[in-house]
C-alpha cells in the first residue's frame, strides 16, 4: 500500500497550553523562561511576543527591553513531552499509528486512513481545524515520507498535501533546515553558501559524505523515500505473546499441562475478543539449565478454542523434557488470521461434511503428529492421463471445479507406478491371452478395450497407452496397457496399472 504520513507542527505548544489555562493571557505577549548560567533565557514565546521580535533563546532582560510589559512564566521541564503525548493519544482517532516528534510535533502514519474521512484534503483539514479550534496553533502536511511531511509542515509555502511521488520536487526549494539536521551541519552548509536543498542535492554522495557525514545523506534519503524511517509509536501494535513465569520449576507433565492451559486461556480470550483465530503457535520452555525447548502447532483453519488448541499441544507434551525444571513458559501466536464467527447450526445432520468443526480439529491433531503432507484429499482434474486426472486439494474448503467422470471406468486401486508384466498376445491390437504378474499366471477370459489414452504433448512426450480391462479365470479384474504401437523392430511393452472392484 502507498505509505502516507502526516506531520503536525505546534508552533506555540506550551504557550497555547497556558493560554488555555489562563484566558486573560490571550491578549498579552508572554514568554516562558528558565535560568541558565545565571541569567534568564526565554524557552518559548507566544505569537504576540514573537510579533514584537522576541524569540526563544533570547535573554529575558533583552526581551524586557523591547516589551516592558512582558508577562513571564516559569519554564516547566517535561511539559512539552506530556502535552505531545496527550495530543498524540487524542489523534489515535485518526489513525492507530501515532508517534511523538520532539520537541513540538506529531507524526501520523495515515496509510489507508484518509478515504474514511472523504479524501486527504478533508482528512488533514479536519485534523488541523479541530486542533486549532481547541486553541493549539497547529500546522500540518501530508506526504509519502516522514521527512517530506515534516519539512512541508514547517517550511512549506503553499500546498500542505504533497501528491504521491511529488516529495522530491517540493523539497528542492526548501532550506537545508527542513531536513532535520544538526546545527553543526546546518552552519557548515550555510558557510558554504548552500541556501536550499536544490543547491546540494545533485552533488555526488561520496563528496557529501566526506564533507558533512552520513547524517545528511540519511536525512536526505529519508525525506525522498529511499530509506525507511520507523516511527516510535505511542501505542505499539502488541504481538500475540503470553508469558508464564513459574515460582517453582515445573518438572511434571501435569505441571506443563496446567501451564499450557493457562497460557492458552489468556491468549484465546484476547483472540476471541478481537475476532481472530490462531493458525500457528510456538511454545517455548526455558529450562533451569539455560536451554530453551520449543514446540509448535498449526491448525487448518483459524481457531481460538482453548480445548482444541490444548489437545494439539497435548500430543507434543511427551517431547518436552523438563530436565531440572522449567522456569518460564512463553506462547507466541506467530500466524493469526481472522476467524469466522461460529455459526449456530439449526439442526445437526449426521456429520456436517467437510465443514464440520470436529473434523477440522481431528485433522489438526493428525497433522501435528504425522505431518500435514500425509493427509490428502483429491479433486478431479480435466485430464485423461490417469495420473493427472486427480489433484490434491489445497484445503478442506477447496471445492471441485469439474465433475467426477463416471463414463470411463477407472480401477479402485491404482499402482503409483505401472509394473511390467509378461504377456502372451496372439493378435496385435487385441488383449493378451494371459499375463504373468508377480510370478502368477492369469488367463484372460473376458476383456474390454482398448481405450487409447494419448500423452498430453504439451506436458510431456512419450508413447501413448492402450488400456484394456481384463478379467481372469477367477473373475479378478485388472487394468493392463500396452505402451506404444507394434513395430517391426521391437515388441511393445505391457504393464499392469490397477485393480478393478
Amino acid at each position: 500500500m502507498q505509505k502516507r504520513f502526516v506531520s503536525i507542527w505546534f508552533r506555540h505548544l506550551t504557550t497555547d497550553w497556558l493560554t488555555l489555562r489562563r484566558p486573560e493571557l490571550k491578549t498579552l505577549p508572554f514568554i516562558f523562561a528558565a535560568p541558565e548560567h545565571g541569567r534568564m533565557l526565554i524557552t518559548a514565546a507566544n505569537s504576540l511576543a514573537e510579533a514584537q521580535g522576541i524569540s526563544p533563546g533570547m535573554a529575558l532582560a533583552d526581551a524586557r527591553a523591547i516589551v516592558p510589559s512582558l508577562e513571564m512564566a516559569d519554564h516547566i521541564p517535561g511539559k512539552d513531552a506530556k502535552l505531545l503525548k496527550a495530543l498524540g493519544e487524542w489523534c489515535i482517532r485518526y489513525t492507530p499509528l501515532v508517534a511523538v516528534d520532539m520537541p513540538n510535533g506529531l507524526l501520523l502514519d495515515v496509510s489507508g486512513c484518509a478515504h474514511l474521512w472523504g479524501g486527504e484534503r478533508a482528512y488533514l483539514g479536519n485534523i488541523i481545524k479541530v486542533l486549532r479550534s481547541k486553541g493549539y496553533d497547529a500546522r500540518g502536511a501530508m506526504a509519502d515520507t516522514v521527512g517530506a511531511a515534516w519539512a512541508v509542515a514547517r517550511f512549506g509555502k503553499d500546498q500542505p498535501i504533497i501528491a504521491p511521488g511529488g516529495q522530491t520536487d517540493v523539497l528542492l526549494s526548501l532550506p537545508p533546515m527542513a531536513l532535520r539536521l544538526e546545527t553543526e551541519i546546518l552552519e557548515r552548509l550555510k558557510k558554504l553558501g548552500f541556501c536550499n536543498i536544490k543547491s546540494f542535492i545533485g552533488i555526488g554522495r561520496s563528496v557529501l559524505r566526506r564533507r558533512f557525514g552520513t547524517q545528511l545523506l540519511l536525512r536526505l534519503d529519508q525525506a525522498i523515500g529511499n530509506e525507511d524511517e520507523p516511527l516510535d509509536l505511542l501505542q505499539p501494535v502488541e504481538p500475540y505473546h503470553e508469558r508464564l513465569p513459574c515460582l517453582e520449576p515445573i518438572r511434571t507433565a501435569t505441571g506443563i499441562e496446567i501451564a499450557i492451559k493457562k497460557l492458552l486461556e489468556n491468549l484465546c480470550q484476547r483472540l476471541a475478543g478481537e475476532g481472530m483465530g490462531l493458525r500457528t503457535a510456538v511454545l517455548k520452555c526455558y529450562r533451569l539449565n539455560g536451554k530453551v525447548l520449543q514446540v509448535s502447532v498449526g491448525t487448518g483453519k483459524p481457531s481460538n478454542f482453548v480445548n482444541h488448541l490444548f489437545r494439539l499441544f497435548e500430543l507434543k507434551i511427551p517431547s518436552i523434557e523438563p530436565d531440572l525444571g522449567i522456569e518460564l513458559f512463553t506462547l507466541d501466536a506467530t500466524k493469526v488470521e481472522e476467524a469466522d464467527p461460529e455459526q449456530e447450526m439449526l439442526w445437526s445432520p449426521e456429520g456436517g461434511g467437510l465443514e464440520d468443526v470436529g473434523l477440522a480439529e481431528l485433522l489438526d491433531r493428525l497433522a501435528n503428529k504425522i505431518g500435514a503432507a500425509n493427509i490428502r484429499r483429491y479433486l478431479p482434474q480435466e485430464h485423461y492421463w490417469p495420473e493427472r486426472s486427480i489433484k490434491p486439494a489445497i484445503s478442506l474448503q477447496d471445492k471441485r471445479t469439474t465433475e467426477w467422470r463416471t463414463d470411463r471406468i477407472r480401477p479402485s486401486l491404482l499402482l503409483s507406478r505401472p509394473e511390467r508384466i509378461e504377456v502372451m498376445v496372439k493378435t496385435p491390437d487385441y488383449p493378451p491371452n494371459f499375463f504373468i504378474y508377480n510370478g502368477q499366471k492369469h488367463i484372460i477370459i473376458k476383456s474390454d478395450g482398448p481405450e487409447r489414452i494419448e500423452r498430453e504433448w504439451w506436458l510431456d512426450n512419450g508413447k501413448q497407452r492402450d488400456y484394456y480391462r481384463v478379467e481372469d479365470d477367477e473373475g479378478r479384474r485388472y487394468w493392463l496397457f500396452r505402451s506404444g504401437h507394434y513395430s517391426d523392430e521391437q515388441l511393445p511393452e505391457w504393464f499392469i496399472h490397477g485393480f478393478f472392484a
Partner: protein
C-alpha cells in the same frame, strides 16, 4: 411368572443389541443401506451402523473388490453429508473409481501413515469424531484388546468403522460386529456380448454377532446392489441354448 421372566429377558436382549450398535428397524425403512437380503442376516434386519466391521482382503485384487463393496455402502452412509477417512500405510485407492459407486470422492480424506501402530492410533482418534460418516482403516492385524478400544470409541460417537485386514492367517477373535469376505465373481454380459460387464462379488458374512452368517452373490449395476442367483442365471442360459 414364567411369561414375565421371558419378557424381561427379551427386553434385556433388545437393550444389549441397542448398546452393541444394532438399531431396531424403523417403520419407514430409512435404516436400509441397499444391501437387500444381506441386511436380514443382522439382528432386527438392519445393517449396523455405529459399529465396526472387519473385512478380510489378503490380496490387492480382493482389496479392490472390498473397496468397491464399501464404496456402495459408503454412498448411502454419506448421503446426508459427512466425510469419510481412509487410513492406510501405503494407500493405493484411486478416488475417481469411487464416483461409480454414487459417492463424491472429494469427501474422502486419505491419510498415509508410516506404521501400523499409527494407523490404530489415528483410527481410534477418528472414530471418536462425531462429524464423520465412516472410517476405513487398512491393517495387517488387530488384537482383541485393540479392537475393544475401537469399539469403545464408536459406542459414543456412532461412527461406522471398517477394518480391512490383509493378513487373514492371524484372524483371531475381535469385538467387531461382523466379519466379511468379498471375492470377485466372473462378470456376465448376457447374450454373449463382449466385455467384462458389471462388477460381481461373492459376499461371505463369516461372523455376525447375534445374527446368521451366510453367503450371497451380488452385482453393482446401475448405481445399486443387485442380488442375483447364479444357478438361475446358468439355468436360463442353458435353456436358451436348448431352445
Amino acid at each position: 411368572m414364567q411369561n414375565t421372566r421371558q419378557d424381561i429377558i427379551n427386553k434385556l436382549r433388545k437393550d444389549i443389541l441397542l448398546m452393541e450398535g444394532f438399531k431396531p428397524p424403523s417403520a419407514s425403512g430409512a435404516g436400509s443401506i441397499g444391501l437387500g437380503e444381506i441386511e436380514l442376516a443382522f439382528p432386527n434386519g438392519v445393517f449396523p451402523v455405529g459399529a465396526i466391521h472387519e473385512m478380510m482382503c489378503p490380496a490387492p485384487e480382493q482389496l479392490a473388490a472390498t473397496s468397491g463393496f464399501i464404496g456402495g455402502i459408503l454412498a448411502s452412509l454419506m448421503k446426508k453429508g459427512g466425510a469419510c477417512l481412509w487410513l492406510s500405510v501405503a494407500g493405493k485407492i484411486f478416488p475417481p473409481a469411487m464416483a461409480v459407486f454414487n459417492m463424491e470422492p472429494d469427501r474422502m480424506i486419505f491419510i498415509d501413515l508410516k506404521r501400523e501402530k499409527d494407523v490404530l492410533w489415528a483410527a481410534e482418534e477418528a472414530l471418536k469424531c462425531e462429524g464423520l460418516a465412516a472410517v476405513i482403516a487398512e491393517l495387517q492385524d488387530i488384537s482383541f484388546a485393540e479392537s475393544r478400544r475401537l469399539q469403545l470409541a464408536v459406542e459414543n460417537s456412532k461412527v461406522t468403522g471398517f477394518i480391512l485386514r490383509n493378513d487373514p492367517r492371524k484372524a483371531g477373535a475381535t469385538t467387531c460386529v461382523a466379519r466379511w469376505q468379498i471375492a470377485h465373481l466372473p462378470g456376465e454380459t448376457g447374450d454373449g456380448l463382449p466385455g467384462v460387464g458389471y462388477p460381481r462379488w461373492q459376499v461371505d458374512l463369516l461372523k455376525v454377532r447375534n445374527g446368521n452368517p451366510g453367503s450371497w452373490q451380488i452385482e453393482w449395476a446401475e448405481g445399486r446392489f443387485v442380488q442375483f442367483d447364479k444357478e438361475a442365471a446358468v439355468h436360463e442360459v442353458f435353456e436358451r441354448q436348448v431352445g
